[in-house]
């Protein structure tokens, strides 16, 4: 069963090609296509319907201890108005999901899981519930819009008062029914706006109206994927899953082994655990590597690609792959098997694209 987001009619009016994704019907692209949408976000601005993302709130006296137990990052020094990224692990150290955590009040945290993992996350949280906490699924209450790109700040300034707009990356402000956070999944400056479903269409229309003179266009799931890949960001189900640890997925920065016990800690501390690393690959030969292409170093198979496509800003085919952590990938000849044929490739550092300044 697929759910329509509150913006479904807008997508259809704007010529969105609708597809099912994580239980929702969303546009993979609009009329201008993935490349134009991708470039708009890099050079001007793009607006995305991300209402499919889940929202789960954890409240109560023991909420801090509880989020610290179910997530790998450390939330003890977090202040209200801050956002933190964190994997959620199973006991084997595999990733259940990766989420954003918003500290709304001293005893109130909002977790934002991926759409396709929302129920899994909700059930896992309830299964492991301890102490005085309340877990509430607010996914049906909220819609969400992402406004991403260099002109996003200008658009926000015209949309709302300055004091409603967060300044620091990974911070947020909320007033009445709207929560604005300076976060995103594109590698650009941008905002994510949470509001109750009934308000989402109003906000979408207003932002599009304000932004039309500065190059703002609606963007679909296709551009969302190429943008995150270009920015070297992992995607659940590709760079990580229930079997892949956050360390292997390159998310070690969000695993705080020094904190008290948390789910997955023992497994992640085990020296015998297979350790991998996520690497960047540029396809030099002819072809576009997708997911699950074999990667060869000096003719030895060393791993598989986890994501790959043509990246519009970099103007070439790129992929990410998972290989053993101790594998020396530099100065060796690399090939990737694309549709049965080995093509030349090259190791490159992640991210493929990095914007010049980050405020």
């Amino acid at each position: 069963m697929n759910t329509k987001t509150p913006l479904y009619n807008r997508h259809v009016e704007l010529g969105g090609k609708m597809v099912s994704f994580g239980g929702f019907i969303l546009p993979v692209q609009y009329r201008k296509g993935v490349i134009a949408e991708h470039m708009a976000v890099r050079n001007e601005c793009g607006i995305f319907d991300v209402s499919h993302m889940g929202e789960i709130e954890i409240r109560g006296k023991d909420s801090l201890a509880f989020v610290n137990y179910i997530l790998t990052n450390d939330f003890s020094k977090m202040i209200i108005g801050q956002v933190k990224y964190s994997p959620m692990c199973n006991v084997k150290g595999g990733v259940i999901d990766d989420l954003l955590v918003y500290k709304r009040e001293e005893e109130k945290y909002l977790l934002v899981p991926n759409a396709s993992n929302k129920d899994k996350v909700y059930n896992w949280i309830n299964h492991n519930k301890s102490g005085e906490v309340e877990v509430i699924d607010l996914s049906d209450y909220y819609g969400q819009i992402a406004l991403q790109g260099p002109n996003s700040e200008h658009i926000m300034r015209n949309y709302t008062k300055k004091e409603n707009i967060p300044e620091k990356y990974y911070s947020f402000l909320e007033n009445k029914e709207v929560l604005i956070s300076k976060t995103g999944y594109t590698g650009e400056n941008g905002y994510e706006i949470y509001a109750k479903k009934e308000c989402i269409t109003y906000i979408w229309d207003k932002l599009l109206e304000i932004g039309k003179n500065v190059g703002l266009i609606p963007c679909g799931l296709g551009a969302r994927d190429t943008l995150r890949l270009e920015a070297g960001m992992p995607l659940y189900g590709h760079e990580m899953n229930d079997e892949i640890t956050p360390i292997t997925a390159g998310l070690g920065f969000a695993v705080k082994k020094n904190k008290e016990d948390f789910i997955g800690k023992k497994a992640l501390e085990n020296e015998l655990l297979w350790k991998g690393k996520r690497i960047g690959i540029r396809i030099v030969g002819r072809g576009i590597a997708r997911e699950n292409c074999e990667v060869y170093l000096d003719d030895c198979k060393v791993g598989l690609t986890t994501s790959g496509t043509y990246l519009p800003y970099m103007k070439g085919a790129f992929a990410m792959a998972l290989v053993a952590a101790d594998l020396d990938v530099e100065n060796k000849s690399m090939q990737v098997k694309v549709r049965g044929k080995k093509v030349d490739a090259q190791f490159v550092n992640l991210p493929f694209y990095k914007r010049k300044e980050r405020k």
């Binding site: 090609k17 993979v28 692209q29 296509g33 993935v34 490349i35 991708h38 296709g222 190429t226 002819r286 072809g287 576009i288 997708r290 496509t309 043509y310 519009p312 085919a317 549709r339």
Partner: protein
């Protein structure tokens, strides 16, 4: 979307044009639109044999890979090599951006005319 009346169409969304004994083959407006921005194409070589129902090329967009199926059995006599460097020409004008020309055509699929193809698309 646009389906010129002077062309023939296959069920796998190729367009076909007869020019004397030469057959020109490309992909339809529907096919390019479904694929989205085309960023890569693999083409066969001059002199290669093509067989009806078999893939002779693949086109890739940002999102997907799609085989191009030969609607005829014959021998390739010309390849549009310009597309190797600018595959986006297929999106811009799918009926200008032919993929291959074939000669000595001894067999072909059942073709549709433009009107029939549009009816066929509606049923998709």
């Amino acid at each position: 979307m646009n389906y010129p009346k002077d062309l023939l169409y296959s069920k796998s969304h190729e367009w076909i044009k007869y020019e004397d004994k030469i057959v020109i083959i490309g992909i339809t407006d529907y096919a390019q639109d479904s694929l989205g921005d085309i960023v890569f194409i693999n083409l066969p070589e001059d002199g290669d044999e093509v067989e009806k129902g078999e893939a002779f090329s693949d086109v890739e967009s940002v999102k997907a890979v799609s085989d191009v199926i030969s609607p005829v059995t014959g021998t390739i006599c010309e390849v549009n090599e310009e597309l190797l460097d600018s595959p986006e020409k297929i999106n811009e004008n799918p009926y200008d951006a032919w993929l291959i020309k074939a000669k000595e055509v001894i067999d072909h699929e059942d073709f549709m005319n433009a009107e029939e193809y549009e009816v066929f698309l509606k049923k998709q």
